[in-house]
Amino acid sequence: MKRSDIFLICTLVLIFLVFLGLYLFKDGRDKDLLVIQRENRIIYKESIYLDNEISIFDEKGNLLNIVHIENGEAWVSYASCFNKDCIKMGPIKVGSKKQIACLPNQVLIYLDSLVEDWDGVVK
């Protein structure tokens, strides 16, 4: 390995550490609104404490994903795609900062804050 390789690797690790720091300071505690987005449209926005089962279909009526919401946790129980990454990602709950993404189906599941919405209405 050359000196430039080592410099490059160290810089990238440093960038990662900065990202990690920012991520750890990101507050996820107040976010209890479950949002399901397909393509760039929000198709579901309810409290994560509301038990539900959401089936997501494409324009032709093909089933893409099934999202289970139970006891304040949401997870994908069915995915029509090959890799099933979104199922393997497990559940999201209040306080967890992760999102569930199913890129082949263009579905994104994440938590949002009610407070932000109220601010929006006030404005």
Binding site: D5, I9, F19, M89, L108
Partner: protein, 168 residues
């Protein structure tokens, strides 16, 4: 190496790269991070870049992405693979063309892995239009470095072995 020999090597390298890609899709690290892969097929592209040259490496990358796309991927997954794979190999070729001595094969491998992730992030941003997915790219950066070093070291030894074989 004659042109006909190089074309034969393109066939061999492409087949190996496709086999590695398909095999790798069965060993997912998605419970850690969605889309996380070591990118082992890049060992082949990097080796081809050093042994055969940039055009042939580009051809191998293109054939691999197209065929694995037809074999396994959905249109969106194919788009991500195409954008990430082609951008990374083009940038690696460009850097090597500007200054051959700037980075070793390990450095180029790391650059390729990072560019692959960044390009895929922009493709995902275009599709999902949600900036929050930025956090994925942040974490994928670390794994890109690890994967890039691993594939780079593997490519280094493969290149050495093939170069030695070429002389005999």
């Amino acid at each position: 190496m004659r042109k006909s020999q190089k074309i034969a090597w393109v066939g061999v390298f492409s087949s190996v790269a496709i086999a590695i890609s398909v095999l790798e899709s069965y060993f997912s690290f998605s419970s850690l991070l969605p889309g996380l892969k070591l990118g082992l097929a890049n060992i082949v592209s990097l080796t081809a870049l050093y042994i055969l040259g940039p055009i042939y490496a580009l051809a191998i990358q293109f054939v691999r992405i197209m065929l694995t796309g037809f074999l396994r991927a959905s249109p969106i997954t194919f788009l991500f693979s195409f954008v990430g794979g082609m951008t990374s190999i083009l940038l690696v070729i460009l850097i090597r063309r500007i200054n051959k001595e700037a980075f070793s094969v390990v450095g180029l491998s790391v650059i390729g892995a990072i560019v692959h992730n960044v390009a895929q992030f922009f493709a995902a941003l275009l599709v999902l239009k949600n900036i929050d997915i930025f956090w994925y790219i942040a974490f994928l950066t670390l794994f890109a470095v690890l994967g890039g070093v691993l594939t780079g070291i593997s490519a280094k030894y493969l290149i050495k072995a093939l170069e030695a074989n070429k002389r005999h």
